[in-house]
């Protein structure tokens, strides 16, 4: 009877099953696309072969990292768009990207150059950005969404300037590597076995918090006051979600750099198909985002023989995501945003 049936547990699980199939299919596809020279039989059976190591130490962790990062960015984008009631919000908008970039560049360029230090610097930078932006956006205990967005944008611009200062002072080789790092890469580093578990925990906590807040995010669509009258505290919701999202996105950016467009385009695409209910949009965005990043990353590897080098996956997500987003906007303009 309804053009879009009301969300029922049955409909939710059907969509999530479809999303899970997409994500798993993407991961399997990525395995073959990303490393065509891998002989799966040898890789699974012969523990002394390089194939075994390539599969267990590199390919599987890399795919896992792609799944976690994609899920985090897409779900965070969806949640932030709902929290700020702004369809253009993305996971990097609250100063997190600038903070992380500055933090990681600072430690790299200033030269505490061990492998784990750059992620740590990035993470601390993201957290610092969150603190500054939230503090500046809070007035009388309330977080004004528009104000927060503006402050986030200004903060990112300032961080960009800070980054340029660092680059101007640093050795050109280090600058190039830092830029590469910021461009966004999914990659397994077997010498840092703790990065993926840490990232997974940070993202997992964020995802759970977002899913638990789904109904509150729905009610927030009606405006802060109406949401309050329905028993939701918008300020508490924002504060809690800003913190957990920043931790998750900060950890993501610290490990992978800035993988753009995922947090913007995936939630929009999902909403176009299933409507704006966060109870479905959040988990489905996570699954679709996971699959999207993994396939994009595998395509980077698949292109490597032709290009002789592996592009940062952030380049691919932007190159594919940008036009796709424009196509979506043209296709169903009224449904995306007013």
């Amino acid at each position: 009877m309804r053009a879009r049936p009301a969300l029922t547990p049955r409909r939710l699980w059907l969509w999530l099953a479809a999303g899970a199939v997409f994500a798993v299919g993407a991961a399997v596809l990525a395995l073959f696309l990303g490393m065509p020279e891998l002989d799966l039989g040898t890789a699974l059976s012969d523990a002394s072969s390089w194939q075994y190591a390539a599969l267990h130490k590199l390919q599987l962790p890399r795919i896992s990292q792609g799944l976690v990062v994609g899920a985090t960015l897409a779900a965070s984008g969806a949640a932030l768009q709902g929290l700020l009631r702004n369809p253009l919000a993305d996971p990097f908008i609250l100063g997190v990207s600038g903070g992380a970039a500055l933090g990681s560049a600072a430690v790299t360029l200033v030269g505490f150059g061990t492998a784990l230090v750059a992620p740590l610097g990035g993470f601390l930078g993201a957290m610092g950005a969150l603190l500054v932006v939230t503090a500046l956006a809070t007035e009388a205990g309330r977080i004004a969404p528009l104000r927060m967005l503006l402050i986030g944008v200004v903060f990112n611009a300032l961080a960009g300037a800070g980054l340029m200062v660092l680059q101007a002072l640093a050795d050109p080789g280090a600058v190039q590597l830092t830029l590469m790092r910021l461009m966004g890469s999914v990659g397994a580093d077997p010498s840092e076995p703790l990065l993926l578990p840490i990232l997974t925990v940070a993202s997992g906590v964020g995802l759970v918090a977002m899913l638990l807040s789904a109904r509150g995010l729905n009610l927030l669509a009606l405006g802060d006051d109406t949401a309050r009258s329905l028993g939701v505290s918008p300020d508490r919701l924002r504060l809690v979600l800003f913190v957990v999202i920043s931790v998750a996105v900060g950890a993501t950016v610290a490990v992978t750099g800035l993988i753009g467009f995922v947090g913007l385009i995936v939630p929009h695409a999902v909403r176009l198909v299933v409507g704006p209910d966060h109870r479905l949009v959040l988990p489905l965005s996570a699954l679709v985002g996971a699959g999207f990043v993994v396939v994009a990353d595998a395509s980077v590897s698949a292109l490597a023989p032709a290009l002789g080098t592996e592009l940062p996956v952030g380049v691919v997500t932007a190159l594919v995501g940008g036009p796709l987003f424009l196509a979506l906007l043209r296709h169903r303009p009224t449904r995306v945003a007013e």
């Binding site: 990303g34 072969s49 130490k57 590199l58 390919q59 190039q176 590597l177 397994a188 940062p312």
Partner: protein, 289 residues
Amino acid sequence: MTRVVQRAPAPWVALVVVAAALGGCGRGAGQVPAPTPRVVSLVPAASAIIDALGAKAHLVGVTRYCAVTGPPVIGGMDARPEAVLAQDPDLVVLGDYPSQAALREQLTALGLNAVAPSFVGIDDLRAAVTRLGAALGREAAAAALVAALDRDLALAKERAASRRPVKVLLVYDVQQGYVYTTGGGDHLGALLDLCGARNIAQGGPLTTRLALDAVLARGPELILHVAPGEAYPDDAAARAYWKSLPEVPAVRAGHVYVWPDDHLAQNGPWIGAAALQLSDLLDRVAGAP
């Protein structure tokens, strides 16, 4: 590994050093004025060539990346035109890099004689030595330098003929599970080729990004970090990183090294000596079971 390039300092160097010490570090009153042509070099390799030609006294400005000691440092690779102008140079040497193109135009517009030879391949190195030798009136020294270079390179080539090809991964840096290496279009590629080694990233762009799985698939027998860096200052640090991938032949056999200086990374007058030292390393790898 030991430092290969032994450049005996010319006797006059001591004189200049003493003079500089007496006159203070700046362009003090007591300083011996530099002979003409006065040269500013904004390329570390060019500074080293000038030094090797025995013409360090002509240098009136270098970058902070230049290994030559004595001449005043006037900035990075992107030194300000004012800082260059202040040295009143007769010749400014830049590289044929996009990043220095604008600076070159500015300096030319200021009436300075700015040249920008290419420093990419070994032929470029020969040409640069000859050109700088001519500019500094040291044609003989330049010819000798080129001859020494060619002699070392020929020797390296000869040694390569009797050695099986070794698969090599050169490493600028490694982060986030990616190795940054050379695609072979530069002097490093030429050097590997000449020494009978196979660059596993051959064919990529100048700075090639290689995922670790590609490294595993291509199985290098020698992993060589081309210069000591922040994260990997020595062999031990590099081996500590690579030990997580013992499936790579180079790691298994212990052939992970960090070149002790930047003489491999910089396409300078020491390349001939570096080629011989690389040959030693390749002998060791090829001889290993």
